[in-house]
């Protein structure tokens, strides 16, 4: 997957977790926490959805890398570059 595809995939996960959120204006450089109504339970769901969909294991000490869209894509790009988008 390319970085753009990974971004699409994250948006898809977010819309699954928070169907009522309007994600069209999401700013990649700003923390999810500051623009979406997500709590710690929802963050855990991003991690678990990635695991469910792509078998990616994210160790707890790396959760910080998922703070914003930009940092998430940066973190996932090397880990997902050999995957096909379903």
């Amino acid at each position: 997957m390319t970085a753009a595809e990974i971004r699409e995939e994250i948006l898809d996960i977010l819309s699954d977790i928070a169907p009522d959120e309007d994600l069209s204006g999401l700013e990649d450089g700003v923390a999810f926490r500051d623009q979406l109504e997500l709590d710690s339970m929802d963050f855990l769901d991003i991690v678990m959805e990635l695991r469910k969909r792509h078998r990616i294991q994210i160790p707890e000490e790396d959760y910080g890398a998922l703070a914003s869209m930009a940092s998430t894509v940066e973190y996932l790009t090397p880990r997902m570059k050999d995957m096909e988008r379903a």
């Binding site: 009522d20 959120e21 109504e37 339970m41 929802d42 855990l44 991690v47 678990m48 695991r51 469910k52």
Partner: protein, 465 residues
């Protein structure tokens, strides 16, 4: 081999099961009864639908709300708001001798009622709200503080304190006389600040949704499968042994059976005194009316009544029931809109405190007689606080602590479980956890959140598969 075996197909077990199965864990829920729901169930009798448990769902927030426990649980279980078809309450009230406080789903009504009936207390009341809005569910060290002592710092008039405590204790307090400060804050927010709602079809709609979702995501549900004991080896639970003798193996076991009940399943050496399971139980009378309650002048959704200035929240020791205080629930008095059939009959449910030991020691004849006797006495007590509905009754039913015990296997027929909660869900065994009433959250939203949070915290972390 299952990843997790869940004991009990009530709200908490089903919610935990959905979370685990959704994230590809192999899950089996085992339920002793022949139906799901546990404490919140439903049945049909004489062509009519009855709910057990549910009066109203607390923590109501409107469609589109992103905050609060209801929005959170919908997200966690991937439900849409519409799936629960919640209709908000009309208006409810706390009624004590000479004083009525009305409340609805906007906190402003209760505040104005406090200002009207207790003008000197309204500033303290506002400060109390500021305090409890900030209470964090996770501050476990504060949880068990005395609510009575805490609110005395804000509210001077003992009558107002009793009137505020009454509905909150009724809808979720396992402790006698006093209440945990944590429980008080959670209940205050869920009832007075967020509010009450109900699906027109009652608790069956919620249960059907939970079961459907659980099956969709691949969960296995076994009814009539009571657990006789845990299989324990070297400090770990390795599975459960069913009443039939069949053995199921699991990496983890999550029990919603209750704390005392779960410990007993671990072996005689873990047995605890049954009083630890809690002492408070209830009877509920159900009267089907030939008309909607509003047609006899009763438009309120829930009425919490108490017939003296002091609120008595204790197990009745000398009698089968204590009808001095009670809850009158009118399931018709929610804003159902077009879905409700206006020509249909109505229903009045009245709950009072009851003594499990006394009810369960009666022989069959005496049990039937006492049900009739108390049915009438409870109605007599309630009509002091609502219009007399008795000549409109066309069908009745009633459940007692004995019924509750039969459906839930909770010791002492408790509804809110043990006064001592196990907030972290852990037990003496590293892979055995508990959820449900004895974990700490009560009510329907609470039970569902309990299942979700224990599943998230202990069973969905990486490496726990």
């Amino acid at each position: 081999m299952y990843d997790t075996i869940i004991i009990g197909a009530g709200m908490s077990g089903l919610a935990a099961g959905i979370r685990l199965a959704y994230f590809d864990r192999k899950v089996c829920i085992v339920e002793r009864h022949n139906t799901v729901g546990g404490l919140n169930s439903f049945y049909r009798l004489g062509g009519r639908d009855y709910d057990v448990g549910l009066h109203a769902i607390t923590n109501f927030t409107e469609r589109g709300a992103k905050r609060g426990p209801l929005a959170r649980l919908l997200r966690q279980l991937r439900f849409r708001w519409e799936d629960f078809a919640l209709a908000p309450q009309r208006e409810s009230a706390v009624v004590f001798p000479g004083v009525t406080l009305r409340f609805g789903n906007q906190g402003a009504l209760l505040e104005s009622e406090v200002a009207r009936a207790f003008p000197r207390e309204v500033d303290g009341y506002r400060r109390l709200i500021e305090q409890l809005v900030d209470y964090d569910d996770l501050e476990t060290d504060q949880f068990t503080h005395s609510a009575r002592e805490r609110i005395e710092a804000f509210i001077g008039d003992p009558l107002l304190r009793e009137m505020l405590l009454c509905p909150l204790m009724w809808y979720g307090n396992a402790r006698e006389h006093d209440m945990d400060w944590g429980q008080f804050c959670i209940m205050f927010r869920s009832i007075f600040l967020e509010g009450l709602a109900r699906p027109h079809r009652g608790v069956r709609l919620i249960l059907k949704n939970l079961v459907r979702r659980y099956r969709e995501v691949g969960g296995e549900l076994r009814l009539r499968a009571g657990v006789a004991r845990m299989a324990v080896e070297q400090g770990r639970v390795t599975g459960v042994v069913l009443d039939s003798g069949e053995r199921l193996e699991g990496r983890h076991v999550l029990s919603s059976a209750g704390w005392v009940e779960t410990m007993r399943l671990c072996g005689p050496e873990r047995s605890l005194p049954t009083d630890r399971a809690g002492r408070l139980s209830f009877v509920e009378t159900m009267s089907v009316l030939d008309r909607r309650p509003e047609r006899i002048g009763h438009g309120r959704t829930i009425v919490f009544f108490n017939d003296s200035p002091r609120f008595h929240w204790r197990k009745p020791e000398d009698e089968l029931c204590d009808p001095r205080t009670g809850v009158i629930c009118s399931p018709d008095n929610f804003e159902y809109g077009d879905t409700a059939d206006a020509a249909a009959g109505g229903m009045i449910r009245i709950t009072t405190l009851a003594n499990y030991d006394r009810w369960s020691s009666l022989d069959d004849d005496a049990y039937r007689r006492q049900k009739m006797r108390w049915f009438d006495r409870i109605a007599e007590s309630a009509v002091r606080f609502m219009p007399d509905y008795r000549r409109h009754v066309v069908a009745t039913d009633m459940f007692t602590p004995k019924t509750i015990h039969r459906f839930t296997r909770h010791e002492n027929g408790t509804v809110y479980g043990s006064p001592t909660k196990q907030l972290d869900g852990r037990t003496h065994l590293s892979n055995l956890y508990i959820c449900g009433t004895d974990q700490g959250y009560v009510g329907i939203v609470g039970a569902i959140m309990s299942g979700i949070s224990i599943a998230n915290r202990h069973l969905l972390r990486d490496g726990s598969a």
